[in-house]
Symmetry: none
Subunit: 222 residues, 4 copies
């Protein structure tokens, strides 16, 4: 699936193909996208000025428009690159013939696993989603989200059907809680800190499947 509206990185025919010191045109473009993503993540999309992105890249703001139509084109590329990658990974996990618990575990690992390589994109998605979705051009974000939900929910349902998961939980609701827990972690997760994404994933898998409580289950508390 290509969620990208504009030329994607993988499908773009390299234009000009100059072999300059700074690499090909598309490499330059990718570099700029990465730079921008970091600033978007740090300050928010709206609070980031085009001048700021340009300055960080060592050029003037007008020059950015040789690479991108608009500021929105840049976030677009940031977000769609992430979503393309994420969905591709989920598909791989689902395509294995493992049972639902194993698949879900793998998907949790995939989710936490994107925290580092796609930290900026995930942050932007968390913080600026609400703003960006107002624009028609970002409708595809909702579509991608729906597709992801589809993948998760069907796994949870499969697990329930197989008797692996409690039958009394709501699949959609459960998915949303898992999803939120993973993505929001980007707000406090710091690479190189006390916890790495692997630990995070295993910790969450444990609590998710077996719960926080010890001993006999179903005790009426609260």
């Amino acid at each position: 699936m290509s969620t990208r509206k504009n030329s994607g990185t993988t499908t773009t025919p390299a234009r000009h193909q100059r072999a300059t010191s700074s690499g090909s045109a598309s490499e330059r473009r990718d570099h700029l996208v990465k730079l921008a993503a970091e600033i978007f993540a740090r300050k928010g999309f709206q609070a980031t000025t085009v001048r700021e992105i340009a300055r960080e890249a060592g050029i003037l703001s007008g020059s950015l428009y040789h690479h991108f139509d608009s500021k929105e084109t840049i976030v677009d590329e940031v977000l769609s690159t992430f979503l393309d990658d994420l969905i591709a990974r989920y598909r791989t996990a689902v395509d294995s013939s493992a049972d639902a618990r194993a698949v879900l575990s793998e998907m949790v690992r995939i989710g936490f696993g994107t925290l580092e390589p796609h930290r900026a994109a995930i942050t932007v998605m968390q913080n600026d989603w609400n703003y960006l979705r107002q624009f028609e051009r970002f409708n595809y974000l909702v579509k991608a989200e729906d597709e992801v939900e589809q993948i998760w929910v069907s796994q949870i349902r499969a697990g329930q059907a197989a008797g692996l998961f409690r039958p009394d939980v709501d699949p959609k609701l459960t998915y949303r809680m898992i999803r939120d827990t993973m993505w929001v972690a980007v707000r406090w997760f710091r690479p190189g800190g006390r916890l790495n994404t692997h630990t995070l994933a295993e910790h969450y898998i444990t609590v998710l499947f077996d719960g926080l409580a010890t001993g006999e289950r179903s005790t009426q508390h609260g």
Copy 2:
């Protein structure tokens, strides 16, 4: 704790307190804050213009400055009102003499319970936190967050000490996951929809304490 920078609603000595047809000055102010909160939630703080807030209130933008120093003063009031209320509720729950599981369950209920009355404030906090915390005036947000974390973590630790909770989970990490799950729900939760906040809370309490899986625990999967 009062996180409020400006005169708080509960502690403000009633000044002049004229009883006019349009209500007291502080009622007018509160009304404006609520209006603004809704728009901030819908469009984001930065994307909301003061003209927009004023128009919705039926006045001109300049007139807003009769009530507030700045646009930031308005969000400030939105957020601190919410935090004051939340922390007060948590304190009440903690002060009961129930066991850790009961207290945590109650705190989860409190959290989900704020989703409706403080929907706008929570949304703003989720979406604009990253932007707002850049300003010194919002330092108190971090302080309030720390206090809340303190409350939760100590309950989780107490539960572990009492043998109620798994000893192998990280208290801070667990708190963060719970918190995120609750708050981010504001993004998709719609009052009057299929799920109400009570259902949400109980659902989450179930999964949180007892896990998603059925049958024997600790089986190595994935």
Copy 3:
């Protein structure tokens, strides 16, 4: 001469004549004018807000409009009060039958003598003249200035005619230099400092009439 456009202090029929705790209406008005003059002097007319004047008077800005039509009415009163007083004093000096040197000396003393009682008004006149004269309502300032010039120049001419003053100086130019020297002193003169206005006047009279140089005159230097 009354330069005042609005009700002057001396000619205004006392309205209402209430004997309140704060004095008559005109006393209240005068008090406000004095307050305002100080702020105008300190911050400049334009940079002074009506709110600021009101705050200093312990009332709200809207209430000022019970006393004055507009902000400009207030400066108007500040300036015309000063000019009325100044011109009256000059007239007295001129009406003596002393010789030109004595009269001019006295006028210099009068000028420096206004520095303390009319410090604020003189400061406003120095700093905001350029701005205020743009408005038709302040045309009378130019008229007052012309009248003062008239008084001085005729004295200088009389002194030249009597052989008391050099015939080779330009009377108007000389007047302007004297005037400027006196008024601009308001910028650095501080009551209670090393110099009082009496010393200032005598110092200036000395240099003005007899020059800075010692010994033989007319030596070609420079």
Copy 4:
């Protein structure tokens, strides 16, 4: 001494230095500064709007910010350019080996000589000094003023020590009077009128050194 906060005209390394039809960037900037100075002088700093400056330059107000950070940056440049030039000229005069009277005469000529080329800047300094000095960024104005006072006072003292000047005049006070007389002349001096700045200077030198009176000196009058 460079009082300039921003890149000074004399010391700026020519950046890029494109030779376009409209001149270099710094030429454009200088042109804008001159335009602005005229309006500041005519209407006062505060009463001048950036739109007005832009309109006079044939551009839109936003475009001004391509050249200057703020309205204050523009006056800053106006004033510091003048002060730099003035102080440089004074230094040259002082560095000659002439006697104090000759040096002072020359400095008077320099002062009046700036009236035409720096008319706008001097006017702004006279009228808006009181307002501008409130801002930290204009602290350097006071420093420059102090330096100038230093130069004058030491010459007056030298003249007194050499027996050229009356010993009974206060050097600082005398300096201030001279200074005020020169600068305030900018308020009424009109190039091309009856008097030119050369005449003005010689007139003032005459009165300053030898006084207004004829005949025997020190006669007690007044």
